[in-house]
């Protein structure tokens, strides 16, 4: 032991002589290595961030796609607009809280529908919001075709007082006041490539929105002009992946002094017809939809989607629900529906429209939806 200690001491003394250079080299090499790795990590993170912010600038800045969702989508092939437009099967859409953003909410709906998952989601975007790229991504992440109801105003709601907004008069749109915004939105829609259905300025035959004709100073013909103006900007931006849904309200409740054919921009500007059609007391689908369908089929044969539907609570609800699903299955010109899963007081709803609001309706819905063959959105 004595020897070891002496050797150790001698070693320490001798070691001290060449101590400095060795330590210096060690520190220089390792500090350089550490700096290089730190730089590398930050560099990679910066590149990833850059890529993300470029993507989000293209897709509208405000709505960042969750990197996880983006990665999940990267493994899927982007479908074409044509695949959806030409599909002969049906769409089962929902508009509901947290859909399509929250996978759990989507799953619960599928469960309520007896294990049939919706293949379409509908959401709302106003003209103070950029293109909702995250919503589109989340929708596809759950194998749903996104329908964006694009409202040319700053707020939601459906009171007549809100219809009076000169800033959002149709002539303002046609006049170019919002061209920069529309262009940015169109470019973002194009950049993200995934097909997206846009239901622009819906329920134009009502009197509750500033884009309805004969209210808010909107002259006859101004709706078609505004539609074409917006559509043309999308065409110039190369947004060929947009499915255009022209979506009036059913005649019941709408302005009787407006005729639908005068509000229709023409088949060249429209892919699908959408209808807002809520069952109130009607017992069959034809009772609710017949009169409006007759008018529409007089000027266009475009496929029809019930872009908003649901049934008021009441004795008629289960029967009407069963009949509607049969009707959708039988009509080759009707491609599907978007069910409003809102109860009273939620999402601005005045009634409980849900298909799972009572057991009888839910059973009717489950039986009906089983018989539909649905478009496979996720492939």
């Amino acid at each position: 032991m004595r020897k070891a200690v002496h050797a150790g001491a001698a070693g320490a003394q001798a070691g001290r002589a060449n101590r400095k250079p060795r330590l210096r080299i060690w520190m220089v090499v390792n500090t350089a290595m550490l700096s290089a790795v730190v730089f590398g990590v930050y560099h990679e993170a910066a590149i990833a961030q850059q890529a993300q912010s470029t993507a989000s600038a293209q897709t509208g800045g405000l709505t960042k796609v969750d990197p996880k969702v983006a990665r999940a989508l990267a493994t899927k092939t982007v479908p074409t607009k044509q695949q959806f437009v030409a599909a002969t099967a049906n769409y089962f859409g929902v508009m509901a809280a947290d859909v399509p953003w929250n996978g759990t909410a989507v799953g619960k709906l599928a469960q309520a529908a007896g294990g049939v998952a919706p293949n379409m989601s509908e959401t709302f975007t106003t003209w103070v919001q950029d293109f909702p790229a995250a919503t589109v991504a989340d929708s596809y992440a759950h194998d749903e075709l996104p329908v964006i109801t694009w409202e040319p105003w700053a707020q939601g709601g459906t009171t007549k007082a809100q219809a009076k907004q000169p800033a959002y008069a149709l002539s303002q749109i046609t006049g170019g006041r919002y061209d920069a915004y529309i262009t940015r939105f169109a470019q973002a829609a194009a950049a993200q490539q995934w097909p997206v259905a846009i239901r622009f300025a819906h329920e134009m035959n009502g009197d509750w929105y500033p884009w309805c004709e004969k209210v808010n100073g909107n002259a006859p013909g101004s709706y078609v002009a505004a539609w074409k103006h917006v559509h043309d900007i999308f065409t110039r931006a190369g947004a060929n992946n947009v499915i255009w849904i022209w979506a009036p309200n059913i005649l019941r409740g709408a302005q009787s002094r407006l005729s639908l054919d005068e509000l229709y921009p023409g088949d060249a500007y429209v892919d699908w017809i959408g209808l807002s059609a809520y069952d109130d007391h009607e017992t069959t689908a034809m009772q609710l939809l017949g009169p409006t369908m007759a008018k529409i089929r007089a000027f266009t044969n475009k496929p029809l989607l019930l872009a908003e539907t649901g049934s008021q609570s009441g004795a008629q609800k289960p029967g009407w629900t069963a009949d509607l699903l049969d009707w959708v299955q039988q009509r080759t010109d009707v491609i599907g529906f978007v069910w409003s899963e809102y109860q009273v007081g939620r999402g601005g709803s005045t009634a409980d429209w849900r298909f799972d609001a009572d057991p009888a309706t839910q059973t009717a819905f489950r039986d009906g939806i089983k018989k539909l063959s649905l478009v496979a959105v996720g492939q």
Binding site: R2, G8, M33, Y42, A45, A48, A51, R71
Partner: protein, 440 residues
């Protein structure tokens, strides 16, 4: 280290606060402070001649070892050597002392403090050198050790300690690493400002008068309602500092000591140190804040570190178990999509970064013992699984005096309820709660 970098980045861009990042930042800042200080450290070179009394309290020690210890000391011709055998009589040791020609005293009262009192009363040297009975001096230990006393303001000097033959086992390597880091970083840095907070007791030299003056307090002073007979070296250092002297480190005075080779012995030793050290930190804190800010800072961090780490680990485990999700910070990196590839990638990168950062932070050790880098994972495990819980437990129990793990024949503690013993529990409870809450 990778987590630290990414958390810093998140803080920079999004203002997200992470306690772990704050903690790591503090660790690096303190490292920079230490390195800046220690660059000014120089050992004392000019010789000093004065009288020295070497004092060796001993209970029991293997014959050969003790003979060797004594021989090495007497070779260096101190003015006197006083061995105090305390506890049961030990004729073997007495005989060794006789043969070596050193003074020995026997006292039936067990305990190091009483032994020191007896020796101090008998000693005559200007400088009292306290030596542990298992500590091996090297050739010039004594001559080097007393050099700083040329400066009359210096009251206490300590040696550089090494573990004897550290390659024996993982535990001795680990102990050597800890000692080495202490001798290469904290001690020289604190020595520069004249406040080494704890002159390690294997071999320390004090001006004898300081010990005479503080002996009464040393034997009786209570704190938090208890008299704790552990950490004698730290306590004596405190008294020296409070008497207005400087305490310094003499790197050229080298001693060798042994380290536990059994895990349980190591746990007991660390527990004893953790209790004594944290007890003394609490006791000294008001004085340190007034008189020695650096010291206060380093010791406060010393207590806080285990709590912060525990909070961080808790939050990591809860994130993993409850959310089954990798921490979001790694989302900043362009990682492959599937977990089978991304998790190993993150682990390798994180491991490599940790390794390199440690080679930098402890360069003064690893530059000379690069082989120890291979043992780094084991060192980390010992730090996390043994040192961390032991330090936490030591903090909570630091005002209990019923001895656990001190020398078997030592002070056995007073019986009875001590209401102030709850103070560390309260403090620790608060720190633990805050740490877990912030991290969660």
């Amino acid at each position: 280290m990778l987590a630290f970098l990414l958390e810093l980045r998140n803080y920079w861009f999004d203002g997200a606060f992470y306690p772990f990042a704050a903690f790591m930042l503090l660790v690096w800042l303190l490292w920079i402070v230490r390195v800046a200080l220690l660059r000014r450290y120089r050992p004392w070179r000019r010789a000093w001649t004065g009288t020295t009394s070497v004092i060796i309290p001993v209970v029991d020690e293997p014959e050969d070892l003790f003979r060797e210890v004594l021989d090495r000391i007497t070779e260096q011709q101190p003015t006197e050597v006083i061995v105090v055998i305390n506890g049961p009589r030990n004729e073997v040791l007495e005989e060794i002392c006789e043969k070596a020609g050193v003074t020995w005293v026997w006292t039936a009262v067990p305990g190091k403090r009483n032994a020191l009192r007896i020796a101090i009363e008998r000693s005559r040297g200007e400088i009292a050198v306290l030596v542990d009975s298992d500590t091996m001096w090297t050739e010039r230990t004594l001559a080097e050790l007393v050099k700083p006393f040329r400066n009359p303001r210096i009251g206490g000097v300590t040696t550089r300690q090494r573990i004897l033959d550290p390659a024996r086992s993982v535990l001795t390597r680990w102990a050597d690493w800890l000692e080495s880091v202490r001798c290469e970083y904290s001690m020289p840095a604190m020595s520069v400002v004249g406040t080494v907070g704890c002159l390690p007791g294997r071999t320390i030299a004090f001006r004898r008068q300081i010990l005479v003056d503080c002996m009464e307090r040393f034997l009786t002073e209570k704190f938090l309602g208890t008299f704790l007979e552990v950490s004698d070296d730290r306590t004596l250092t405190n008294y020296t500092l409070m008497a207005g002297y400087q305490t310094v480190y003499q790197a050229t005075s080298l001693v060798y000591t042994d380290a536990p080779t059994k895990v349980w012995k190591l746990v007991k030793q660390q527990y004893r140190w953790a209790r004594g050290s944290q007890y003394n930190t609490l006791r000294m804190m008001p004085w340190m804040i007034r008189e020695a800010r650096f010291l206060a800072l380093f010791y406060a961090v010393d207590i806080l570190v285990p709590f912060v780490l525990l909070g961080t680990f808790t939050s990591w485990i809860s994130a993993f178990v409850l959310h089954r999700d990798r921490p979001a910070i790694y989302g900043q990196l362009p990682l492959p999509d599937d977990a089978a590839r991304s998790i190993p990638l993150v682990m390798v990168l994180a491991g490599f970064l940790t390794l390199v950062s440690i080679t930098v932070r402890f360069g003064r050790h690893f530059a000379y013992r690069p082989v120890d880098l291979l043992y780094l994972p084991v060192f980390m495990m010992i730090n996390t699984l043994i040192l961390l819980p032991v330090r936490l437990l030591g903090f909570f129990r630091c005002a209990h005096n019923a001895g656990w793990g001190t020398r078997s024949a030592g002070f056995s503690g007073e019986r009875g309820f001590n209401p102030l013993a709850v103070v560390p529990y309260l403090l620790g409870g608060i720190m633990l709660t805050i740490s877990v809450l912030i991290s969660a």
